[in-house]
């Protein structure tokens, strides 16, 4: 009886079991979406290609269901997942072929019993690379590809092969707190591949360097705990995956996609339905919507990050000063910021755009200015708290200058809430960018930006709905990803949740 109860605890505590459930449910939902889309209600015809995808996803779902059952039985019977169940993960890896990221991520997770943050990074690094290759490879169906395409693809493939090798090495060699010294070389090579925008490589490289070079156990433990908290949250990890995928694709698209297809009008291919050459169809000017969305990611991410980074820096600086110094400085800065805060953000943005014209720089400024006060408030509140801590008093007693105390002691210890807040607001900035473009106030209409693409689509909702669905999905996914990641970061960084 006692045993059974313990095993029930094992079921609840297991990190893999909830993910297994999540995976089969999501797979089922996606396969249903494909099922509905495989049948045309207008003509009564079956689309065999979509139907095949449906079958593949359904198979994945059933396999996943089977694995989940087995895991539950294992956990209830023995309190741990058995080798046999874990081996099933290798079969589930096949789902990667269908692009089922949920099942693939789960499978990788299941295979390896001993989970280090490095292993997770390596897995996602590889998955990102694989997806980037798959997305870029769609270009071979086009009438022509950009000149750098073959070389870029080869480089990407080599990177992917290297990533697989790293994945295996990491799984075998890296321990919880220690890695062999020789891993430092691998780490540097991995760091180099992060140049493609694959930030998982950056994280992995950093992490490996830390473990192979540093002897500071507590630092490593802290790092481990933080990432464990984030990676345990599968939605946060998937959110991070999608953001980094978009980031990588916007870097890589420079070499693998042809910008002309996204901006130059082609009147012989107007309003084509989705096909292999045009995966998301073409718009009313004959431009490839797929390429436009890929290039649009660049602007959305750029504006999203820039219009968050600027207020974080300015607001953080002002908030830090206001929080540290006396009432008068505090009052002057904060009351001025209150004035700014009183103006509705989107209205201010529209006014700025209307006055200075619509382009990317103005858009970033417009979205940044309105967000400064909220960051200043967050920073000020944290600084007020942190500046009363003992280590600040000691620094003061040692005669350190104010500026040095603020920026070396206080601010670094007040950053966590700022990071969480900014992650959550990047999503808002992405939406604001798209909304302004949708209203015709953002970037110029021919520039591929998700709001612009959606705007064209909105006038064809009835006759060519794919023009609106795909950019809409892209916006939803990116914003959702930022929100999930923000939630995950909050759980990991918030000291109150410790």
């Amino acid at each position: 009886m006692e045993d059974k109860l313990n095993n029930r605890h094992a079921l609840v505590l297991s990190k893999e079991y909830p993910q297994a459930n999540f995976t089969w449910i999501i797979s089922l939902i996606i396969s249903m979406v494909f099922l509905v889309n495989s049948y045309s209600f207008k003509t009564g015809e079956m689309n065999t290609f979509v139907f095949a995808i449906f079958i593949a996803y359904l198979a994945t779902t059933f396999l996943q269901l089977f694995i989940t059952r087995k895991m539950k039985r294992d956990l209830l019977d023995t309190g741990a997942i058995q080798k046999k169940a874990r081996r099933l993960g290798y079969i589930q890896l096949i789902s990667l072929v269908t692009g089922n990221i949920f099942a693939a991520a789960f499978a990788f997770n299941l295979i390896n019993e001993r989970k280090t943050p490095e292993y997770t990074f390596a897995v996602y690094m590889f998955l990102t690379q694989l997806f980037v290759i798959a997305i870029s490879a769609m270009n071979i169906f086009k009438p022509y590809v950009t000149d750098t395409f073959p070389l870029a693809m080869v480089v990407l493939l080599i990177f992917a092969a290297f990533h697989v090798a790293v994945l295996i090495i990491v799984a075998k060699m890296v321990g919880d707190v220690k890695a062999p010294r020789s891993m430092a070389i691998v780490a540097i090579l991995v760091l180099l591949t992060a140049l493609t925008g694959n930030l998982f490589a950056l994280l992995l490289g950093w992490s490996l360097l830390l473990k192979s070079m540093s002897n500071d156990r507590s630092r490593i433990m802290k790092w481990n705990v933080m990432w464990e908290k984030i990676t345990r949250n599968s939605t946060a990890t998937l959110g991070m995956f999608f953001i980094i995928l978009m980031l990588t694709i916007s870097v890589v698209s420079r070499f693998t996609f042809d910008y002309a297809l996204a901006v130059e009008n082609d009147y012989s291919h107007i309003l084509q339905p989705p096909s292999l050459a045009y995966p998301f169809g073409t718009d009313n000017f004959g431009r490839d919507v797929f390429s436009r969305i890929i290039f649009g990611a660049r602007i959305s991410l750029l504006v999203g990050f820039a219009s968050t980074a600027i207020p974080v820096i300015i607001g953080g600086f002002l908030g830090g000063i206001a929080g540290y110094y006396s009432t008068r400085t505090d009052n002057v800065i904060m009351r001025l910021l209150d004035v700014l805060y009183a103006i509705p953000g989107i209205l201010l943005a529209i006014a700025i755009i209307a006055a200075f014209g619509a382009n990317t720089t103005n858009l970033i400024i417009a979205l940044s200015v309105g967000a400064i006060p909220t960051y200043a408030r967050t920073m000020r509140a944290n600084v007020l708290m942190v500046s009363n801590y003992d280590f600040v008093d000691s620094a003061r007693a040692l005669g350190t200058s104010d500026m040095s105390i603020i920026f070396k002691q206080v601010v670094p210890n007040s950053l966590a809430p700022m990071i969480v807040k900014s992650t959550l607001t990047i999503g808002g900035a992405v939406i604001a960018t798209s909304s302004l473009s949708y209203l015709g106030l953002g970037v110029e209409p021919h520039i591929p930006e998700w709001g612009n693409i959606l705007r064209v689509g909105s006038t064809y909702l009835e006759s060519h709905s794919y023009l609106a669905i795909f950019p809409g999905l892209a916006i939803i996914l990116l914003v959702l990803s930022f929100n999930f990641l923000g939630d995950g970061l909050r759980d990991a960084l918030d000291p109150r949740l410790d």
Partner: protein, 600 residues
């Protein structure tokens, strides 16, 4: 190991490069040309001004210019008002403009746009002036050649404009509500509301006809003070004219103030026999009432004299249309009509005017109250032109020649024209007087089938003139008309489809299918005189001085691509005259010429 890896890599590159065609494989020559162009920083930047409604056209122009080696800066204004402000300030190299010849005659299509003293013109070219004057005195057979020369001068030689396309007119009608046979779609003139009827005649007095227009800020309800999309349809239905245009641009007396008209020998004298069954309507307590004042010859003389007089009102926008009129007078001597011969045909003017009358003319009267057609007492107006100018009839059919009340306008416009102060003086037809709120004080006197009762930012409400040809076939069928102001054509289309409006004039070309496939709608299509073109800045900027630059832009324009974008629902244009006169001129895109002109 390293060697092996390198070999594999090279093999992969070869294989990959073998399967796919790269961009330079496909268009090697062209591509290298492009990179050469983009390498140099000496690209000419062209600023393209337009409204957000013309965004698609602007994108096509931008694309064509960029492909021909220009740099393009877009200046997109949200509405026509800010567009016009930018255009007046000269903040453009090329402006996306459009022109609709609502009078249906070619003179109107060029006079105000290209003549040195035209009210929409910055062009100063004596050769153009001379050609316009010459063509205006000619008959259709003769002027074909003159207009051809004019077009070549304006477009081919000097490139003052770059033509894009001629639009079709398309109108969506809700056939569940309206009887589509009663809804006219004319090539030139604005739609006439009085003929429109519901399927269910019993609804005429209870329901309103709901239609739409894009611009909600009305320039002026004084017919001579405006000539744009905000008031053309409204003033056409509020003021009767001496003659009208048919759907294919023939001048007729149907639905006008005249029974008949005649052209005197020599093409300088024009006679109009006036009706006596129309009274002015006014608005009292939110309803249209009969003022009891008849629309007569003195009102016609007054209206036409102020139409041609530049100083009759401040902001006179239409005098150039009527500058050909020398004199307007009331004919009281019947002998003059008997003696005057008709132009081109046998018979006296009197015979022409009496055609089809129930009671022949026995007496001509000067006082409008004395006229009584049943007793043979009529009023006749004679319009004399400076030069022989047959196209004057088209101008008399234009809304700016609408007949206003001499008494009412005289009593409102008491200000001194030279010292007019827009903040203090309220002229006749000012939209403030019909806008709901504190400034509301409707002083309109309508001679046409409908009168504007009031408006706000969303709609304008019209009521039928109770004394407009009552009990005849021209009596307005539907009592109330509401005009919704919906700027965006896609929103207007949605409004039509969900039944919010009954009639939508201006269905976008790319959406014809939607209307055709909708069970409750019917799409009416006709040719139109609307030409869209690029206007070059003629005042400052490089393009004003540099003719070669203008020509380089001109030959970058490929009209076929516009037609493709609009699914073939556009026609090629050469100038604003193109829809009216077949001159045979055609603009053919020529990248070689563009390079040549840029080099110069």
């Amino acid at each position: 190991m390293g060697k092996k890896l390198l070999t594999i890599m090279l093999a992969l590159v070869v294989v990959l490069a073998g399967c796919v065609k790269t961009k330079s494989d496909v268009s090697g020559e062209k591509d290298s040309g492009d990179t050469k162009g983009s390498g140099g920083s000496g690209k000419v930047t062209i600023e393209l001004l337009g409204t957000s409604a013309g965004e698609d056209d602007m994108n096509i122009v931008r694309d064509q210019l960029i492909k021909n080696g220009f740099d393009v800066k877009l200046n997109i204004q949200p509405d026509y008002g800010s567009f016009k402000a930018q255009r007046d300030a000269g903040n453009f190299d090329i402006a996306l403009s459009s022109w609709t010849t609502v009078t249906g005659n070619p003179d109107y299509a060029v006079r105000s746009l290209f003549k040195s003293d035209g009210d929409n013109s910055d062009i100063n070219d004596s050769e153009v002036d001379a050609l316009i004057e010459k063509a205006s005195t000619e008959t259709p057979d003769e002027y074909k050649e003159t207009y051809k020369q004019l077009e070549q001068r304006i477009v081919g030689e000097k490139a003052y404009i770059a033509p894009l396309y001629i639009s079709f007119k398309a109108q969506g009608v809700n056939k569940d509500v309206l009887n589509p046979d009663t809804v006219r779609l004319a090539k030139s003139r604005a739609i006439a509301w009085e003929t429109i009827d519901f399927n269910d005649a019993s609804k005429r007095d209870t329901d309103a006809l709901i239609t739409q227009q894009a611009i909600g800020s009305l320039t002026s309800l004084d017919p001579i003070k405006g000539n744009d999309g905000s008031i053309n349809t409204l003033n056409t239905n509020m003021y009767v004219r001496l003659v009208n245009l048919t759907d294919d641009d023939q001048v007729v007396s149907d639905g006008s103030l005249s029974y008949n008209y005649a052209i005197g020998d020599g093409n300088s004298d024009y006679y109009f026999l006036l009706r006596d069954d129309i009274n002015f309507a006014a608005v009292a307590d939110g309803k249209a009432v009969d003022t009891g004042e008849r629309v007569g010859a003195d009102d016609v003389v007054f209206s036409l004299n102020r139409a041609k007089n530049k100083d009759a009102v401040p902001d006179h926008r239409t005098y150039s249309l009527h500058e050909s009129i020398k004199d307007v007078e009331i004919v009281t001597d019947i002998a003059e009509l008997q003696d005057a011969k008709q132009s081109g045909v046998e018979g006296s003017v009197l015979e022409a005017l009496e055609l089809g009358l129930e009671t022949d003319i026995t007496e001509l009267v000067g006082e409008k109250t004395a006229a009584d057609s049943n007793a043979g007492k009529y009023q006749v107006i004679k319009v004399t032109t400076n030069e022989p100018f047959p196209q004057v009839l088209n101008y008399l059919a234009h809304q700016s020649a609408g007949i206003v009340s001499k008494k009412q306008v005289g009593s409102i416009n008491t200000y001194d024209v030279a010292a007019f102060d827009v903040n203090k003086d309220i002229p006749y037809g000012d939209q403030r007087t019909v806008t709901e709120g504190a400034t509301y004080k409707n002083h309109l006197y309508a001679s046409g089938p409908y009168i504007l009762v009031q408006k706000n930012d969303y709609q304008a409400d019209f009521a039928k003139n109770p004394a407009y040809r009552a009990d005849s076939e021209f009596e307005p069928k539907i009592s109330n008309v509401t005009v919704r102001f919906i700027e965006d054509s896609d929103s207007a289309l949605s409004a039509l489809r969900n039944g919010e409006i009954h009639l939508f004039n201006g269905v976008p070309e790319t959406k014809y299918e939607l209307v055709e496939n909708d069970d409750k709608l019917v799409l009416q299509k006709n040719d139109s005189n609307a030409v869209t073109y690029l206007l070059f800045n003629a005042v400052d900027r490089e393009v004003a001085k540099n003719e070669n630059l203008r020509k380089a832009v001109l030959y970058s324009i490929n009209q076929d691509e516009f037609r493709n974008f609009y699914h073939g629902n556009k026609k090629k244009a050469y100038s604003t005259v193109s829809p009216l006169v077949e001159t045979g001129n055609e603009l053919i895109a020529d990248p070689a010429k563009v390079k040549e002109y840029i080099a110069e």
